[in-house]
Symmetry: C2
Subunit: 347 residues, 2 copies
């Protein structure tokens, strides 16, 4: 039911020019997706590490004061825990070994993409010190809005940015407090209000689940309500979060979401929300609509991951540009009638 592009992965880390000669691109993945001037445009998360030259050291990039600074750690420094390849911890603080920025990629045929190193949403301010990640793009009232995760010492915030040309980006501030990830705006007002889906990340009481909130102006958000939860023993038992921008179809709002189990295996599912009252879940797929099965999905920086941030909806087809194994951008096609059937069965 999933039609994979034979050219997968369509963007690999090797395709992406690094920030500088000391940098190494380790991942190009989890792209935001939109149609721009009639053609697919991706905002690719590009993760980079510092090329390590000295034995016994590890250096990490951080954004500070509009520039990229390099922090050096001695592997022999017992105050720090280096056991996780993704992080450096010292109990109170956590650093990321890689830093992400968001790079525009364009295509004529929807399969072969050109990366634009001069069209980048860079980590800059104090909330973005450890990078910017996992963008969702929503075309709304003539403007492209981008919601993305900003990672720093202050936690995981959601920042809103806007652009009309994908050349320059205007950052509009934190629209949610930490910790929150996987945030997307609906592409139109509903009953006079803007809506978002979001995913509070941590809680003493609950697990990371999907919530909905509303706004008058896109900047200030409230009336937060839990939309849907994890399912014990299922593929989406550990955490869930929105994947695609909500798509209006005859039956309501079609939304793709990702779910992970306790082994951090990430799959995709779908949910149908009421057209007029998007806080109402009409149907949810029982089984994954897409699982990590291809070699580029089962092995990478974080293995067994399919993670989408958006897709292009055209008639009966969704063109899904998705992140595979936290390393690649891949392309697959999903059939909307198949999704509707899966949603019906999941009821």
């Amino acid at each position: 039911m999933v039609k994979y592009c034979t050219g997968n992965p369509i963007i690999t880390p090797e395709n992406v020019p690094p920030l500088g000669k000391n940098f190494r691109v380790i991942g190009s993945f989890n792209p935001g997706v939109t149609l721009f001037e009639g053609k697919p445009l991706l905002l690719v998360r590009v993760a980079e590490q510092i090329t390590q030259k000295q034995q016994g050291k590890v250096s990490v990039p951080v954004a500070e004061g509009g520039t990229i600074r390099v922090l050096d750690f001695e592997l022999s420094d017992s105050r720090y825990d280096f056991s996780d390849v993704r992080t450096i911890r010292n109990g109170k603080q956590k650093f990321l070994t890689s830093m992400s920025r968001l790079m525009v990629a364009t295509s004529e045929d929807g399969e072969h993409f050109t990366l634009h190193p001069d069209r980048v949403l860079m980590p800059e301010n104090e909330y973005e010190k450890f990078g910017v990640e996992d963008p969702r793009i929503t075309y709304l009232e003539g403007v492209y809005y981008i919601t993305y995760s900003a990672i720093s010492d202050y936690g995981i915030c959601t920042m809103l940015a806007k652009t009309k040309d994908f050349v320059s980006f205007e950052k509009m501030g934190n629209i949610l407090h930490p910790d929150n990830k996987d945030v997307v705006l609906f592409p139109q007002k509903i009953g006079g209000k803007y809506y978002m889906l979001h995913r509070p990340s941590t809680s003493e009481f609950s697990r990371p689940e999907m919530w909905i909130a509303e706004s008058d102006n896109l900047m200030y958000w409230g009336n937060h309500r839990r939309l849907m939860g994890v399912r014990d023993g299922e593929w989406d038992s550990a955490r869930i979060g929105v994947s695609s921008t909500p798509m209006p179809i005859d039956e309501g709002w079609l939304v793709l979401y990702h779910g992970a189990d306790v082994h951090d295996r990430y799959c995709l599912g779908a949910v149908l929300l009421d057209a007029e009252c998007p806080s109402k879940v009409l149907a949810r797929t029982a089984k994954p609509i897409m699982e990590p099965v291809q070699a580029y999905e089962t092995s990478g920086f974080l293995s067994n991951v399919v993670f989408a941030c958006g897709c292009i909806h055209s008639g009966d087809t969704l063109k899904l540009y998705y992140g595979a194994a936290d390393k690649y951008v891949c392309l697959a096609e999903l059939s909307v009638p198949f999704l509707l059937k899966s949603l019906q069965e999941g009821k």
Copy 2:
């Protein structure tokens, strides 16, 4: 520098009528504070447990469908962890052994209070299943607004309610997503906007610190910015959160806050915010302005805790109605000139 009321504690659990004959009040503490019709009014957090009748069982109250339901657990049930007297955990879920509601208390002399069991803000909806806690009251544009923590399976939300008479309360929904505690509104607009202080509770990267946000309508909030952080090795090294409603003084906004160290010892400090730009910290006390030293503060449900949710500002004096040891309401007076001196020294 702290003048304690000789009648302390001024409200004890024994003063509070329980919800029913199977209930036992274990704490009356952390009151919201305001002047109402010229006299002090408290909104006291009343925590109750189920009186245990059967050996080997523990029963906990939860709010569900507008009523209070009792859940029974067998102490021999190995799926649950009963080691913390405050909670019952099973890995994925957490229950509280007590449930809190908020009860009005009034006074003619500011020292002797009458509790009103018929004037109560009750836990009712799905976000309040495990209780409502730690209210702050802000008188704003002729209305008393109450911000309080709503605890449930969905995490720790902040709910806004309003009242004009402290007889009936109108709940206005979750103004922040989980987890967030210690939220207070400023008592007037600043530069055309409403402001709040808040405290995101958990983060992979940071510790629980104080943030500021703004709004056009009190319901929707955004432009979240970190206001001030914890201080390593100090009395406020583990977490901080706002205590009092911000008070306008000549020098700016005077705000009391609480801080805890790694031993969960809670003290009070003060911070001065810029009058026109409340996201700017002008001064912060270095040492605690109040520490748990009295017997009723050093021993209780949670020992070594002074925790304020508000005070009454009159001339050079703050009348602080505060929670002691998560058990009592106590009264102390602080001198504003002393606070200003401490703030100056802390610079």
